[in-house]
């Protein structure tokens, strides 16, 4: 890989491969609305015929193409923006008087809660990921994401999670405990009657699954599919910000997943984690904010990346101190995992830990200083054009400065002692988060021409900026002034009523300004001028070097930065280079020599599996209290999920890995394997959070003051047997792998069957143990020792149960694999044993988890 790309003046693209739009063979003659270009697939592309055109509904149901999925994300997230926004207008109206009028009690709480959840989860991140889907592959020079079907799956899970959330409104009442879902208000006993709250929790779980799938996908793509010559640090800043965002997502959302699963279990199974007097409340706060603080950067980083791109383009300057900008972002991403307790300064955490977290919090604000200054200095000697995207980015930077300064106030613990729970916090985080959203709206104007091929109306765009910027400040600035108002109340100090009324006026100005945006985009889509390939002077990243909108295959050749700037190689050149390069290590699970064409872009299974999950979750939410209809629904959904999963694996769906790519630091691990590893890393955090919760509760209870909660001390035997069984099953998988290498079909089958039998033995043993505890009649536990008996039983059943679920899933996969092994699927071809290896990685991981559960739950 070339290491000297930073030569000062344009290392001019090697003559013939010039990337400038004018000299490209297939030119920029996009004259005919967005559609034509996409459908005009390069001649000889066989699959063109079975991929429906963009005008059809079917296209949008089956597509797995990253650009389509990007558009779906963008449109859907804007829908949720409107949904959440209308709720906000509703309660802003309520706040025009200082006492309750039309929206009070639980209804008010539902409105603020749903607003928060919708905006943070269903709008901000998906909006950013609409752009990420569309532009990251383009900026990197990839044809698509690594796992296109999983990408479509992420989208459908997201959409239907939103649907599930919407459904919760119709089930009596949606969740009403605030977007932070503090315990124990998040439990059924304190929430409004009905299934709705549980449904909302399930919707959140579904959303988190979508995020996790998407993180794995993006990480694999971004690490292994960059164009030749593009090192990680050479990625455009938008892509860079997305890379760091997905890394944070991978780990942070895993913690949230654990928290939500525990919460769902408290709702559905009746475990008592968050009701526990010793530490239940604090446990939620820790789990939530361990996720929650990284989350604020997860929603902000993409906006920062977009700001950097827009600044560079419209100032005509490369960003100042690029290296330091990237270093600062990386530092923030890492540090974001060790500041969470600044949301808990007023709880009973001790002074030492407060001091520590105050220091880390202030530490994390400093890299932001650097980034802000870098953006400002980038303007110097620029040729600044005040287009709509730039105005939004510029405005967003200004808002971020205000938000950041007020955040430093909160970082000072003594001040936070007074600010906590007030409108100061509300104003602070709206300045940063909605400020970030402003940058993203700018990015929408910036990339609109690329996505549609049409130019938006500049005047309307500027009007939108002016109105929204004024509206924003009118909306949030008064909240600083009226900061003593408690959050989430409709009954507040009458002396602040004027400020709140101003704020409401601002909310309407801000909200209505978006009508301009929607109108602008609608009108321009139909009557706008053609944008051409590169409407923005000084834009430099690769998406501007291809038609607007880009073709299905993205690039006219294979992108490469080997010469220091973008060029497109022909197939022959690629083969030459790949050969010289040693080729992709042992990649190519498909063994397809023609990395060029033939990729599939359509599958129904992502949609269908998501529907199955939706049905399953609707049912699960009501199994405790909703009646048998719900149980039946859950069963139906579960079966449907199995069916769609089978359909998914049976479907032949071809995706090729690029032959020529920068793959640091994962050369030599093929995409699927890397995907499995990354997924396992997030699962480490899920289990880590479960084990951490157990440890936390037990420490709060008094570590050694625990055994009286158990039916009997240290019952080692069942755990011991299960440890032997699992270890043996790991061993037999290894033997199956060895057999596959020796091309011994019988050996593979024997190994897998042994694993299956041992796994079943594990579950049976566990079943016996559980049923024994359930029906115990001891002096202390006359009613048996069940899920809800106490914290010890809750942590025991749920942690080992989660592990048991992993075992069960593994066994289902084995049931699938054994007949295939019998037919020789893993022994007949060169790379045929890969699936065995992937399964092994998962199975050993499940084994490793048990190795820790065994001493924790059976000995200590």
């Amino acid at each position: 890989m070339p290491d000297d790309n930073n030569g000062d003046d344009g290392s001019v693209p090697s003559g013939e491969r010039d990337a400038s739009p004018e000299s490209r063979a297939d030119g920029g003659e996009v004259t005919d609305g967005g559609h034509a270009v996409r459908e005009e697939l390069p001649a000889g592309d066989e699959h063109g015929h079975d991929f429906p055109s963009m005008g059809t509904v079917k296209r949008w149901l089956v597509t797995t193409n990253h650009k389509d999925v990007g558009i779906l994300y963008t449109v859907t997230s804007l829908f949720f923006l409107v949904f959440g926004g209308l709720l906000a207008l509703l309660f802003r109206l309520e706040l025009t008087t200082a006492s309750g009028s039309f929206l009070t009690g639980t209804a008010y709480n539902q409105a603020v809660t749903a607003h928060g959840l919708l905006m943070v989860f269903f709008f901000l991140s998906p909006f950013a990921f609409g752009f990420a889907n569309y532009f990251v592959p383009l900026q990197l020079g990839a044809k698509d994401l690594a796992f296109p079907r999983l990408n479509a799956l992420s989208y459908w899970l997201y959409l239907l999670a939103g649907g599930l959330f919407g459904l919760s409104f119709l089930q009596g009442s949606t969740f009403a405990g605030g977007w932070t879902m503090y315990a124990p208000l998040n439990l059924p006993m304190y929430l409004p009657e009905g299934v709705g709250s549980t449904t909302a929790v399930m919707a959140m779980i579904m959303f988190v699954i979508s995020v996790t799938v998407s993180s794995v996908n993006f990480l694999t793509t971004m690490h292994r599919m960059r164009a030749e010559g593009m090192r990680i640090r050479d990625m455009p800043l938008f892509s860079m910000s997305i890379l760091l965002t997905v890394w944070m997502m991978l780990f942070a959302f895993a913690a949230l997943l654990a928290a939500l699963i525990i919460l769902a279990s408290d709702h559905i199974l009746g475990t008592t984690y968050f009701a526990a007097t010793e530490g239940g409340s604090l446990l939620w706060a820790h789990l939530f904010w361990f996720f929650g603080h990284p989350e604020v950067y997860i929603v902000f980083f993409p906006a920062l990346g977009m700001m950097a791109e827009v600044f560079q383009t419209f100032t005509g300057r490369r960003i100042v101190g690029r290296k330091w900008f990237i270093a600062a972002m990386t530092l923030v991403a890492l540090q974001s995992f060790v500041v969470w307790m600044h949301h808990m300064f007023l709880t009973s955490i001790n002074l030492e830990i407060k001091t520590l977290f105050m220091a880390t919090t202030i530490g994390i604000s400093l890299p932001f200083d650097l980034m802000v200054f870098a953006l400002i200095y980038t303007m110097i000697k620029g040729r600044i054009r005040f287009t709509t995207p730039f105005l939004f980015a510029f405005g967003a930077l200004l808002l971020f400065i205000v938000g950041g300064i007020t955040g430093v106030f909160l970082g000072a613990v003594v001040l936070d002692y007074e600010f906590r729970g007030t409108y100061w916090v509300v104003a602070h985080f709206h300045y940063v988060m909605v400020g970030g959203a402003m940058a993203m709206f700018g990015a929408l104007y910036y990339w609109y021409p690329k996505m549609t091929g049409k130019m938006y109306d500049e005047f309307l765009g500027k009007a939108h900026f002016a109105l929204s910027f004024v509206g924003f400040n009118l909306l949030y600035f008064p909240q600083f002034v009226a900061w003593e108002t408690p959050r989430r109340v409709y009954n507040y100090q009458p002396e602040f009523v004027t400020w709140h009324q101003l704020s409401t006026v601002g909310a309407f100005v801000f909200g209505l300004s978006f009508l301009l945006m929607f109108y602008n985009f609608y009108k321009s889509y139909h009557h706008g001028e053609d944008a051409g390939d590169a409407p923005w002077k000084y834009a430099s990243s690769a998406e501007w070097a291809i038609p607007s909108p880009p073709s299905l295959e993205n690039f006219p050749g294979v992108p490469s930065y080997k010469g220091g700037s973008l060029s497109f190689l022909s197939e022959e050149e690629v083969h030459g280079a790949a050969a010289a390069d040693g080729g992709p290590a042992h990649g190519h699970a498909t063994g397809d020599a023609h990395a060029g064409g033939h990729d599939d872009h359509a599958s129904y299974w992502p949609l269908l599996s998501s529907v199955a999950v939706f049905v399953l979750f609707v049912g699960l939410a009501g199994t405790n209290g909703g009646g048998t209809v719900y149980t039946a629904t859950a069963a139906l959904g579960g079966l449907a999920l199995l069916g769609t999963a089978a359909g998914w694996v049976v479907e032949s769906f071809h995706v090729s890995e690029p032959e020529l790519a920068s793959r640091w630091p994962f050369d030599g691990v093929e995409n699927t394997k890397l995907g499995v590893w990354i997924f396992l890393a997030s699962d480490v955090v899920v289990f880590g959070a479960f084990v951490g919760s157990y440890i936390f509760i037990r420490v709060a209870e008094g570590w050694q003051n625990w055994h009286h909660l158990l039916p009997a001390d240290h019952v080692v035997l069942p755990g011991l047997i299960n440890t032997y069984l699992l270890l043996a099953s790991s061993f037999s998988i290894v033997l199956a792998m060895v057999a596959a290498e020796k091309k011994s079909r019988a050996g593979v089958v024997a190994g897998l069957v042994t694993t299956l039998v041992l796994g079943i033995g594990f579950l049976i043993n566990k079943g016996i143990e559980w049923s024994h505890f359930f029906h115990i009649h001891s002096e202390h536990f006359p009613e048996g020792w069940t899920f809800g008996t106490n914290v010890a039983s809750s942590t025991f059943y749920l942690t080992t149960g989660m592990h048991g679920l992993h075992v069960t899933l593994g066994l289902l996969v084995l049931l699938w694999m054994i007949p295939r092994a019998w037919r020789g699927a893993y022994t007949s071809t060169e790379d045929g044993d890969k699936p065995l290896e992937y399964f092994g990685l998962y199975w050993h991981f499940v084994d490793i988890v048990w190795l820790f559960l065994f001493p924790l739950f059976y000995i200590l």
């Binding site: 503090y182 124990p184 304190y190 409340s281 001091t355 040729r383 906590r420």
Partner: protein
Amino acid sequence: MSGTIATLVTVLQSDGIIPRGSRVEVFDAIYWVFLVLGALVGIVVIGYMLYNAYKYRDVGETDEDAAESKKVERPKLGELPRGGGGGRKLFLSFTLSAIIVISLIAWAYGILLYVEEGAAEEPPTEQAEALEVQVEGYQFGWRFTYPNGHTVDSAVGDSFKVPADRMVRLNVTSADVFHNFGIPGLRVKSDAIPGQYTQQWFIAEDPGTNYTARCYELCGAGHSDMTATVEVMSQEEWQNWYEGTGNETETGDDGNQSDGGDDDGHALEDVLEEPVDYGMEVHA
């Protein structure tokens, strides 16, 4: 790092830069310093931003016209991204802002220690013996229990009566969900968490004034109305009132005490310096 901060704090304290006094005084001092400095920094930075945006606006000259712009390199389509130089200036301003932020926080940390000291058991300097009150939030109201076991409940319209110019130390907990007890006028606030005890303190200065205590953490349908009146009395007045309450200890026996008090006795002991009749003993 923490060592430096600690030294800094000692230096600051010895010079009397750390404000002392009631919570209101402390807060005012620090809030205004932050506000003025914050506004100043904000104005300078934003002003500089606007100035540059104006100065370097595109005036429509062509590339050829602008002779000097030849010296400035512009991004090119398809280039590998790289930086635009200017690192030194970046570091200078970064260091400057870091110094401002860190010293502000170090100073605020000194104040934190002062505030925390008040919440801990040692009686504060030259103050009269502090008054210990247990505050218990519940859906939806506040219960205040005095050392003699007398309990007042905001839900029945009782006010929380406190003596002026005497430190009041709160030991805050909750009977059900997470609440947050705050008296904005007295600049005191503390989480009320089931099963946990948090300590805060305040000093009210003006007898005859009433304040409103509010709940600052969403706690259910009645969260908005979860207020209590705090009534500041002169010391003698308060003493008279308080002495009149001693013999009705039994009336505290409406179940309040068992809600959160009993199961965490050790936290209570921390706060009680001399064994007083705390109502609990009545039950025992």
